[in-house]
Amino acid sequence: MMIKINISSNVIGEPILAESMIKTRTALNISQAHFDSTYGEIIAEVETDDFKAIRKALESKGAKVTVLDYPIVRDEEECVECGACISVCPAHVFSFDDDWGIAQNTEKCIQCGTCIKMCPHRALSLEK
């Protein structure tokens, strides 16, 4: 499953991520990370069985953990299957199927919203 970890400025200098991984012996497969002096945001994949433990460890050190369980939604009425979304998605959610229609693997979605701005037909959204 995909999770988002937010680290606020008061604990940004501490090795929260490494400590939590070592403590729980859990591997986080990080797909995106952003850090600066004010905040940190990490998008990572974690085995479902390990999720509870890593969340507990991260939260005990001051991080906020959100499950990314509302992936991108494609409105098939609005979508004209052009494929504009394909090249901007950092997680490779979209691809062409054999008939040049849009295939999607929303399990990979990291809810970044980049494709929403790209779609000329406003067919993509993150609303539940």
Binding site: E81, S87, G101, K117
Partner: protein, 500 residues
């Protein structure tokens, strides 16, 4: 030599024994039979395309109100339509944005809403005349209330399109979609193998009066389109069709983020196979249609060409840019293009759609000229301050403070030992240095990532950069990185104030 006549082909359409194939199918047929046999065998090849065509719009006639009015300004759901013609005619263009909703709603949406039979608010104003006394009008109407709703698209069906990518370090939003920084993606448009004009590049059969598929109904080509440039293989078409018969399956409004609205138009042209040459040209493949990849990061009419590319490569999902595999996105729908070529094929096969000879050929010799500009674009060098004061990065912040006080600039470019630009300090940076400990030298407090400008940049580009990055000044540097001036948003405001 195989020679067939339009009459012969139309007779077969009428009798129901016409052999009609799509341009995609024609590739295989030609490969199998060769041009001569394919020309004998196939009567009509259908093409199709479905993509953003901003240069589209609809002429509307509203009927006369009582008391009558010569509409001077017309708004449809808040989108202005051009009405500088007779009393109750107006042209709604796809790219016109709503006065109130901006990027979210435009002429394209009005057109789609009309096709869907939705009610549209009409607001019009006028100055009033003896024959047309009325001055304002508000009403709500739909497409069935109109006398005419005729789609007239000044430029559709480009033979092919340039491919877009972006070399600068921020995402840019264009009519070719979002272009990620540092050549992060590539976007393209056009139907390649199915592209109407690429299947008859010499305009042997495509011309004035050619019947076409337009928006789900029968339309016509009324001539070459604006910017028609056959000599560079960028031919275009001007099209006409009755909006009242069109379907929202084939005409769709679009929003390009931070760019504006556009209209996705579905269009297809049947090409009668009169001879071997046409059999050959309709067997054009994705590989045969070659175009240029341009760097849209360069805000100029003349964008640098990074490489040539064909549609087969684009369709693989990635192409190489500067040695890296770069993902591609199509902005037009190939699936829909296929659907259109298929639909047109059905119409011809069912005896519902006939071909004809153009009543006039399209110009084969023409290129698209750039604009003649009679006033020179002001450049950064025209208004930048040349007597710029710089400070060494090893100076103390006290020295910087003194320099700012003694001069009129609030921005102080910082140079390294070799005299090249290393950063910038402002009065704000200095107050920060005073407030915090451990920052004694200019190099400790300066902003290192400096937005710069070139002396020969047009002012409009510099102004947009200042605006986008929300800074108020940029050092102007030469090609070697030496500071030769500074340009501030103040200088630009003064220039524009003078112009008015």
């Amino acid at each position: 030599m195989v020679e067939k006549s339009i009459e012969e082909i139309n007779r077969r359409i009428k009798e129901g024994n016409v052999n009609v194939v799509t341009a995609e199918e024609m590739v295989g047929i030609l490969g199998e039979l060769g041009a001569k046999e394919a020309a004998k065998e196939v009567d009509v090849v259908t093409t199709g395309t479905f993509g953003a065509m901003c240069s589209s719009g609809v002429w509307l006639n509203f009927g006369h109100p009582e008391p009558p009015m010569k509409m001077n300004k017309v708004f449809l759901n808040g989108v202005e339509a051009y009405s500088g013609v007779a009393a109750v005619d107006a042209f709604i263009g796809a790219g016109q944005l709503s006065e109130t909703e901006g990027f979210d709603y435009g002429g394209a949406h009005v057109i789609e809403d009309l096709i869907r039979g939705k009610s549209i608010d009409l607001h019009a104003t006028s100055y009033g005349t003896d024959c047309y006394p009325r001055k304002t009008l508000d009403t709500t109407l739909n497409i069935y209330d109109l006398n005419q709703a005729i789609m007239i698209n000044p430029r559709n069906g480009y033979q092919k399109y340039n491919v877009a990518t972006n070399g600068i370090n921020r995402t840019i939003y264009t009519y070719m979609g979002s272009l990620l920084p540092n050549y992060g993606n590539v976007t393209y448009s056009g139907a390649g193998v199915l592209s109407p004009l690429s299947n008859d590049p010499d305009y042997q059969t495509i011309g004035v009066g050619t019947p076409i598929f337009l928006g789900g109904t029968k339309g016509h080509i009324i001539g070459e389109g604006t910017q028609h440039s056959p000599e560079t293989n960028f031919g275009t078409l001007m099209l006409r069709g009755d909006l009242k018969d069109m379907s929202a399956d084939y005409i769709r409004a679009a929003n390009f983020h931070e760019y504006g609205t556009s209209l996705y138009v579905g269009m297809g042209i049947p090409i009668p196979i009169l001879n071997e040459q046409l059999a050959q040209s309709t067997a054009v493949t994705d590989k045969d249609v070659v175009t240029n990849v341009l760097d849209y990061g360069v805000p100029s009419r003349d964008r640098p060409v990074l490489r040539k590319v064909n549609y087969e490569e684009l369709r693989t999902g990635s192409i190489e840019i500067n040695g890296r595999d770069t993902p591609t996105s199509s902005m037009s729908s190939f699936k829909k293009s296929r659907e259109i070529a298929g639909e047109l094929k059905k119409w011809v096969a069912a005896g519902e759609f006939f071909v004809n000879s153009p009543s006039q050929r399209l110009p084969a010799k023409a290129t698209c000229k750039p604009m003649r500009q009679t006033t020179r674009n002001p450049l950064v060098q025209d208004i930048m301050a040349k007597d710029v004061v710089v400070i060494d990065e090893n100076a103390t912040f006290h020295e910087a403070a003194k320099m700012i006080m003694e001069n009129t600039f609030s921005h102080l470019p910082v140079v390294s030992e070799d005299g090249k630009l290393a950063g910038i300090v402002t009065a704000w940076d200095i107050s920060k240095a005073v407030a915090e400990t451990g920052c004694n030298y200019v190099k400790d407090i300066m902003t290192k990532k400096v937005l710069t400008s070139n002396a020969t940049d047009p002012i409009d580009i510099a102004a947009r950069n200042l605006d986008m990055k929300d800074v108020s000044a940029m050092p102007v540097i030469d090609n070697d990185g030496y500071v030769i001036g500074i340009i501030t948003s103040n200088d630009i405001s003064k220039l524009f104030a003078r112009r008015r």
